[in-house]
Amino acid sequence: MEMTGEYRIEASRQKVWDALNDPEILKQSIPGCEEIERISDTELAAKVVAKVGPVKAKFSGQVTISDLDPPNSYRISGEGKGGAAGFAKGGANISLKSDGEATILSYEVDATVGGKLAQLGARLIDGTAKKMAGDFFKNFAEVVTEDADLYSAEKLNEVDTNEINHGINTSTRSKISISSWIIGLILAAAVILAIIVY
């Protein structure tokens, strides 16, 4: 699965970078994220639970950051294990560019799924991952702005390039040196697939 996209965020590049590096914001933004734990400067572990009706699946994932160039770009790669449902792994190149007062975040994602996820869900991964990316940014925007004026997730899904028109007004929380929002894409896509296959 390959996916690319751009988001325009009404905040400075530094502010967006900082927000993306805030594990608390990430935890609230990643759909179903239960915990994010920092293992080292370049490694994070996360647990994501998804519940739909009676079905619940927990994915545990590990993410590694490389090619770090703050506040411009990095490479992030990770793996989510879904137990009997299989696994999802992949990576993304993330870059932030200033556009006047705002920031353009672009990403290129490549991901593969294995086991039952691949067997049953390979053809669904693209759409699901796009949906999850949309959900992530919706949550992200909600969390980082007090005065949300949001586009719906559905709208975000329709095109690869989206704009989020509100400022990011928080940068006071504790920071770690890595970002891992992409884990949301990967794990959440895997979780959704697990739900579909069950």
């Binding site: 294990k81 593969t112 294995g114 086991g115 039952k116 691949a118 067997q119 390979a122 296959v197």
Partner: protein, 785 residues
């Protein structure tokens, strides 16, 4: 009684229970205190198993216990055995790496067993399975055969270049010489697509251990219960046969995929003793896709040498066969003795040489699937013959006529070991041409052209070898089992009969056809015969059902046991009728003294055997119950001709099979209705392989065609009305004069379909297409031509 005798289209007696939901399938069975198992499977094609942490899962609600490969290894559970040893060209035996029922240090394909969870309910077992934490160290996978042969990734560390064996058959030198004398050489490269069997009933097992007696009972979905008892008891779990009972009542389709001894059978049987409670496991459909042995998967290059008149001089074949991650029970025999030995087909090719490299890959094991080796052989041969026709400018019908073995040439010794006993190939061929109105094709093509469609007609002849016997020959070729069959005819006091057969009925209709044989031979009413199969506790012994062997090998055993009954009954009748045994005639169930009106009915004799008041007790034991084992003199050789007509929409690439004619020589027909059904089913599977079915792995060894969203099975609306008939020459290698019919459809159909497609598209310049010829592939071929 003639309406139920041999040759009559008796309706299948077993259908009543199948159609009214009264079948006894393994998953229908429940035992008191039964537990349920879920099996954790590898999501990786190739990985070291570093740690399997079951501690959290063991504490989950309802969990009784969880076992891993290490637990089985600690109990010294053996490796799943392979039933056929092949030797390479250089004389060395095949590489036979271990196949633990659950992975110990390494997983080798997606779906490989990692742990078994046993819980009080099915959902508890599944929920707990989610909580097992496995630490995999992912390794590069060997997925396609070329990659595997490069040896970069080793499926088994002790098998260099992943080569299981490098086998050959035929006279290499004579074949090379035939090419130097050739007027023309025609070459072909093709792939026989990998198939996933998809029996309607997924595999299932219920294992039970009785701690008071030490006896094990395993209900399992197998085509050959005694073979499973032998393999699992002797090689895997070290349980002696008298302590192990295998029961396989009704089985919802096998097609070969339920021949093999599968890991789950051993895991469940072993675990049932560990927990001292019965355990049930039923495969989910998605488990079937990644654990039932797959079929076919050959890559072949071949050359045919011809003289100036179009006569075949020599055939040279080089095949790579994918055997998957492990050697399945008969995996090694399929691309060798069930493939290379049939390469003469129905033709007089004087020199043939075939070499087969069999390769381990990180995919599901590959083994026999309806036809097993013979569809691969026939597809190669008939595609090549059509190509030769095209390149020499000789009509495809004519080139076959020129080269066909003639009826006066039998027994015919082929250059690849087999000796065909009897046949009349031109007869079936000419009958098929007439039945398909081959002559009238051009007018049908014109009509199609008028509708903007491309129409084509394709021919395939085939030969197949059924029975995989005599045992001595099979043994000399590497089989680790005898391939005879047994039958027991138990006549009850009032003259009704229970027949115990060592073959297994999983859709073939034995309960009807075998009852026809017994009722006809003993002259008793058809409804006085019951056929029992599938239980090692009831049936004396048997090798099961596969390779179209049931009638060809099991049928004569039934006949032999019936004849023993008649022999003994004649002695009893002679005593009662006060005549000499030589004067007793037996006809239509009546024993009579020759030339007199003194006679006894079958039931009177059987009653005398069980109530021996007036009985030759000094010479004869009471009772009327006879056993017979039968080992045939040769394989039997069904043959025939299939002709397919297709219409293709060049705008969409969609192929419609408009007509299909099958004329098969299958020897004596016991029940023509069942024969027609067998051919129809086989042809449907053959059309499925040609047009729809194809297993696809990605480069990491993930199965992409792992559900019915991506793996297409043929349906009724994909098929035309099939024009099926027989043109039989009675079999010469067994006393029933039968040959075998189970696989002919899937053998003959695929090349007929593809030859028809290539005929339809030849005016557009399309010269090759691979199976499955899906609409997108056909469309691409048209646009790339």
């Amino acid at each position: 009684m003639t309406e139920t005798n041999i040759g009559a289209p008796v309706k299948r007696v077993e259908d009543k229970r199948f159609l009214t939901g009264r079948g006894r399938y393994t998953d229908d069975l429940n035992q008191p205190n039964q537990l349920y198992a879920s099996i954790l499977r590898s999501p990786h094609a190739h990985a070291n198993l570093k740690k399997v942490d079951v501690s959290q899962a063991k504490a989950a609600p309802g969990v009784i216990d969880i076992f891993t490969g290490s637990d089985m290894a600690a109990d010294e559970v053996g490796s799943l055995p392979c039933g056929w040893q092949i030797h390479s060209k250089d004389g060395s035996p095949m590489n036979e790496p271990g196949h633990p029922p659950m992975a110990v240090s390494k997983v080798r394909h997606v779906g490989d067993q990692v742990a078994i969870v046993i819980a009080e309910t099915k959902s508890q077992a599944r929920d707990a399975m989610e909580q097992i934490a496995v630490d995999y160290e992912v390794l590069p996978a060997a997925v396609n055969m070329d990659e595997a042969l490069s040896g970069k990734a080793l499926v088994h560390d002790d098998v260099p270049n992943n080569m299981c064996f490098d086998w050959e058959i035929g006279d290499k030198e004579a074949t090379e010489n035939s090419f130097s004398d050739a007027h023309k050489v025609v070459s072909i490269e093709l792939i026989n697509n990998r198939l996933i069997p998809n029996a309607m009933e997924p595999r299932a097992a219920v294992a039970q251990f009785d701690p008071s007696s030490g006896n094990y009972t395993l209900h399992t979905t197998t085509q050959n219960p005694h073979v499973i008892r032998l393999l699992m008891g002797a090689f895997v779990l070290q349980i002696p046969e008298h302590k192990l009972r295998i029961i396989s009542h009704d089985v919802g389709g096998g097609f070969g995929s339920k021949i093999f001894h599968y890991a789950e059978e051993a895991i469940l049987t072993w675990a049932s003793a560990k927990v001292s409670q019965p355990i049930k496991w039923t495969a989910e459909r998605s488990e079937s896709f990644v654990t039932d042995a797959h079929g076919r998967d050959h890559e072949t290059k071949a050359d045919l040498a011809l003289d100036k008149d179009g006569k075949f001089l020599g055939l040279r074949v080089s095949t790579k066969a994918n055997i998957g991650a492990y050697l399945s029970t008969f995996g090694s025999s399929v691309p060798t003795y069930l493939y290379g030995t049939l390469l003469a087909g129905v033709y007089k090719t004087p020199a043939i040489y075939c070499e087969v490299k069999t390769v381990f890959t990180n995919t599901v094991p590959v083994d026999a699937y309806r036809g097993a080796g013979r569809p691969e052989c026939t597809y190669l041969l008939e595609r090549l013959v059509d190509k030769a026709a095209k390149e020499t400018g000789i009509d495809p019908v004519e080139i076959r006529r020129i080269n066909m073995i003639q009826p006066d040439q039998f027994p015919y010794q082929t250059p690849v070991a087999l000796q065909y006993d009897v046949g009349d190939y031109p007869k079936a061929f000419e009958t098929a041409l007439k039945a398909s109105d081959y002559e009238g094709f051009s007018s049908r093509r014109e009509k199609s052209e008028g509708n903007g469609k491309k129409r084509g007609i394709g021919i395939s002849t085939y030969i197949e070898a059924c029975g995989i016997a005599p045992s001595a020959v099979a043994g000399a070729l590497g089989a680790r089992a005898g391939l005879y069959e047994s039958a027991q005819v138990r006549v009850h006091p009032t003259g009704s009969v229970t027949l115990y057969t060592g073959t297994h009925n999983h859709g073939q209709g034995h309960e009807t056809t075998f009852a026809q044989i017994v009722s006809d031979t003993l002259g008793i009413a058809f409804d006085q015969v019951e056929v029992s199969h599938g239980d090692t506790g009831e049936v004396q012994f048997g090798m099961g059902t596969y390779g179209s062997r049931s009638l060809a090998v099991g049928g004569p055993a039934v006949l032999k046991a019936c004849n023993k009954i008649i022999d003994k009954a004649k002695k009893i009748a002679a005593h009662i009728l006060e005549a000499s045994e030589a004067d007793i005639d037996f006809k239509d169930g009546v024993f009579s003294v020759s030339g007199t009106d003194r006679e006894l009915a079958f039931g009177e004799v059987s009653l005398a055997a069980y109530v021996p008041h007036n009985y030759p007790i000094e010479e004869l034991e009471p009772g009327l119950d006879e056993n017979a084992f039968y080992d045939p003199l040769n394989f039997s050789f069904p043959a025939g001709c299939h002709i397919c007509e297709v219409e293709i929409d060049p705008e969409t690439g969609e192929v419609e099979v408009t007509d299909f004619t099958a004329v098969d020589d299958i020897g004596r027909v016991i029940n023509p209705m069942i024969v027609e059904g067998q051919v129809q089913g086989g042809v449907a599977q053959g059309i499925g392989q040609a047009l729809m079915e194809g297993c696809v792995y990605d480069k990491e060894g993930q199965l992409l065609t792992g559900s019915y969203m991506d793996y297409t099975m043929p349906r009724a609306d994909n098929l035309p009305n099939l024009n099926v008939s027989t043109e039989s020459v009675l079999g010469a290698s067994n006393p029933l004069e039968v040959k075998g019919v189970g696989e002919v459809g899937s053998i003959g159909a695929p090349p007929a379909v593809i030859n028809a497609i290539l005929d339809a598209l030849s005016s557009l310049g399309v010269e090759d297409i691979s199976m499955p010829a899906s609409p997108s592939k056909v469309w691409q071929a048209i646009h790339n031509a």
